[in-house]
Symmetry: C2
């Protein structure tokens, strides 16, 4: 390594600062330069919605160390030994001569900086749909601190009563909570048939229901035609013709990898639109690495190229890229596209494949829907948690977990992410020695119960029917018997329309009341009692019995409420 | 399988009911009989302390289904098709004739019951030390509902001001919180040098400190000589002679496997004192299975016999034993002795091996102490979490995790349990795609940071010193320089006595002030800045630099507080 080992890092938000600092630690003699187009360095992009809702009070809190030191250019120089050129745009990579052309956005002045190794951490940019009226005042995006400041300014200056969010993805959903917190009337309009497109439809339904309960109006399958207003936005007009009054609009239809600089330099771009990298995070040029939101990853289950922009991944990749561009050989194995977000009182998350994605990838997916308290049933602090576990019928391998609800979702998701990464089967998951005490989990953890349900299905002990399939058959008028085996009190409160009621404890004596010539779908609260009932019925000679997956607690449609 | 397949299950608390119900589901034609010495069935032994503190209001809540149906004999008959003989003691197993002798504790009447397969779920019993005065009134144990009722009765009848708990293990520590909650003055006396013996000493110190802050007096290294009193207990007398006034005493010196019935029948007993089983949970008699607290397990890391009495394990083993005694071949691979408990505002847990246990097992253990907020630093709801991760230097394999603090410990413990079970290295752990959003974790999860610290140690980038080792060297008067690289404000608040102060940002300019002829130990808050400092000093030619593991935040001894 020459004594003047010159490393240039482009992008100063997440992966970039990580790379720069790590290189300076590994090679104290290196000349490390960090180029950032904007003013701010190393800020928490994931915290912007919490800044809008004032949960994070000051802008500088988003870019400070835990002891309150702002991570500015002086900090990087003094503490990290990294030279920072912020308010400086990298406009061209001259790979032949190993140099980068820089431009000051302020005065247009240009210069070249030479590198021995270059790291690209150019991040992502907002997708901007070609909507008429998108340039009206009070139409915002939310990608960086300037966006957040503009929104805070607007909400401080004037009374924003009606706010419309275009896009029900991660950012739109998180922003909805922030805007409700500051007193806005929030409507989300989403083009797709569901919010949070990465989730399976029925899981997204439960999130949508919770948001609706919290006062957010949500329109799905609702493409936007235009924004209207004189100088300031006044309304969002849907393709359906509906006109939604709006004092402000947030456009949150997604982000794209910022790979333009790399593409112009002739670096390979992957099928996801992000910069192609190998497992060492090296691009198609051996002297150039890429990390963070601009870089493509590999999906750990499918092996396919995958673009998973996450602050967590950016930090991990930054470390790996730094080690390798210093001559190391550290692998970044890939991602599961794990995600979680807080949606009012719910945690909502996914790791690995949904049922839909698993089928698209060619797996014969087996799914379990398990709604249950997240702690011992008698423990006062327990909260409801809804799990959807997906596995491969052929191998029993765990493929994915979705978890939503007020209960402890993150723990089960992270355990599932670990198990999926290790290639565990549901059998192995069902025997994990997880930590148990009543304030933290039921004796049979929700995840272990879900794994057992999947095992029961794979091994033929349990035949389920999904709520979507049942609804389809009911709507089609197919002849089937619905059997509710809950207590009379539960049955009186809410139920599936048309169900026959026989409490589980009476079923051994009363199954003669049930018709034998039709399919029989049994349900209860969570499907546990329905499973017992199905076994009793099977033993009594009923051979067309199915258990409603997730039963009443995860039924995504309306229930009949006799008492209401 | 004959049509009259007779299964007898001995023990009606946790594993037993699970086995009985599962057998009845798998073989609806079986005659399943559940024998229980006591009155109550299928109750939550782990919830007893919450019953004492009135967090669980009614006794029946500990033995009810989620919809409030008490799991009594009628419930087991009607719903589970299991015949229950409670208030019935199994006093002899006649293996030759495959039958069990039963006795009614009430009237001494005896009878025999025949079995095709027998399952033992006899649980554990309280260890009772031979203490003079242990039979005095108001001296309690806490193992079953009768114990809990006796305690509740005593605290309701009279004013229990001073309560002494003998034993600082899991039950003693959990009970301390319950007794503080109902207004007692609680003292714990523990014979060993630390409470919570399964933890490493310095981790137990932090728990002890928290309990002391909550008003519990804790004496370690304090064996008890006797209990004194006229008819009711009045004092606990220590071997040291100290006399601690006591209106009531809880003896919680541990539990033992209840394997006497099995031993009398000539079944093999393992080195732990529990019933030896193979990985199918079959005992040395092919017609007899054992599960739950009476059964021995295998440790997943060491492969050694291991006795890990847990409600979670009992449920998992019960399922496996039931499948196998019905002719299946389901494996129970083993346990990690994972544990967690709530101690006031702290969660306290362990999975796998501590540093001490790892060394005892012959590993060259590498440990990281990582204190950090459990969520994004700018997120208002963040809480402190202290991790101790242990790995094997030779292979990099993760061996154990201890987690304590107000922060989210259970999640990291369960992820670690999964990773250990999968045989993951710390490198693999450091690249897990865990779910990230500011309300749930930092961008670099605490567990990933800990894995990176261990990696840095194994790969020689970081040389640490444990707080115990540093204290030993300071107490021995060895010459060494202590360097504090925190901010002036932090340094003024509290510090290690005798430390030199140079803030990290000034270290590149001021390292000339430091002596070069002595070992230099650098610390900060969490050790992150100290690591940066060590690299700066190393680059400046200092070659005897070590970083204090866990630094100030995990220093288990007194700190100097200039302002106090």
């Amino acid at each position: 390594m020459p004594s003047s080992f010159r490393v240039v890092v482009i992008g100063g938000v997440a992966a970039g600062p990580k790379i720069a600092a790590k290189v300076a630690r590994l090679r104290p003699e290196a000349e490390v330069t960090l180029i950032e187009k904007g003013e701010h360095l190393s800020y928490a992009g994931c915290g912007l919605t919490y800044y809008i809702s004032d949960m994070v009070r000051e802008q500088k809190d988003l870019m400070s160390t835990p002891v309150g030191i702002v991570r500015d250019a002086a900090f990087f120089q003094n503490v990290k030994n990294v030279r920072v050129l912020n308010r400086t745009e990298a406009v061209e990579i001259d790979r032949a001569n190993k140099r980068v052309r820089l431009r000051s956005p302020a005065n247009g002045a240009e210069s070249w900086i030479a590198y021995d190794k270059l790291a690209l951490a150019t991040g992502a940019r907002r997708a901007v749909p070609p909507l008429p009226g998108a340039n009206l005042r009070n139409v915002f995006g939310l990608k960086d601190i300037a966006d957040a400041e503009a929104i805070k300014q607007a909400t401080a200056d004037a009374d924003i009563e009606n706010l419309v969010i275009i896009g029900g993805g991660l950012i739109g959903v998180e922003a909805a909570e922030a805007f409700v917190a500051i007193g806005c009337n929030v409507t989300i309009v989403e083009m797709l048939p569901q919010i949070l497109a990465p989730l399976d439809w029925e899981m997204a339904c439960h999130v949508q229901k919770h948001m609706t309960d919290k006062g957010v109006r949500i329109l799905t399958g609702a493409p936007v035609a235009s924004l209207e207003g004189a100088e300031k936005v006044e309304a969002v007009v849907l393709a359906s013709g509906e006109r939604i009054p709006a004092d402000a609009v947030l456009i949150a239809v997604g982000i794209k990898p910022e790979a333009r600089l790399a593409a112009q330099a002739g670096l390979e771009i992957g099928p996801t639109g992000a910069i192609r990298t190998d497992e060492y995070l090296c691009t198609s040029d051996p002297d150039i690495y890429a990390a963070g939101d601009c870089a493509e990853s590999r999906h750990l289950i499918t092996g396919r190229p995958c673009w998973a922009p996450r602050g967590s991944t950016a930090n991990k990749q930054g470390r790996v890229a730094a080690i390798n561009l210093c001559g190391g050989s550290e692998r970044f194995p890939g991602v599961l596209d794990s995600m979680i977000c807080k949606v009012f009182d719910y945690a909502v998350g996914l790791t690995g494949l949904t049922e839909r994605a698993a089928r698209e990838c060619g797996y014969e997916a087996v799914a379990a829907l398990v709604p249950a308290p997240d702690r011992a049933d008698y423990y006062a602090g327990k909260k409801m948690l809804m799990l959807k576990m997906v596995a491969d019928r052929a191998t029993g391998r765990l493929l994915g977990l979705q978890a939503i609800g007020p209960g402890e979702a993150a723990k089960r998701l992270d355990v599932a992410a670990t198990a999926i990464t290790a290639g565990m089967t549901v059998d192995q998951v069902s025997k994990l020695d997880l930590c148990y005490a009543p304030p933290y989990s039921p004796a049979m953890d929700n995840l272990i119960t879900a794994a057992n349900v999947v095992k029961n299905k794979i091994e033929g002990r349990l035949t389920g029917i999904s709520p979507v399939e049942l609804k389809r058959r009911l709507d089609a008028g197919e002849p089937l018997t619905l059997l509710d085996v809950r207590t009379p009190a539960e049955f009186e409160k809410s139920r599936l329309a048309g169900a026959i009621h026989i409490p589980l404890g009476a079923l051994r004596k009363r199954h003669g009341e049930l018709p034998r010539d039709k399919d029989l779908v049994v349900y209860c609260g969570s499907a546990l009692r329905a499973y017992e009932a199905a076994l009793i019925l099977h033993h009594a000679g009923f051979d067309r019995v199915r258990v409603l997956d997730g039963s009443v607690l995860m039924w995504p449609y309306e229930l009949e409420k006799p008492g209401a």
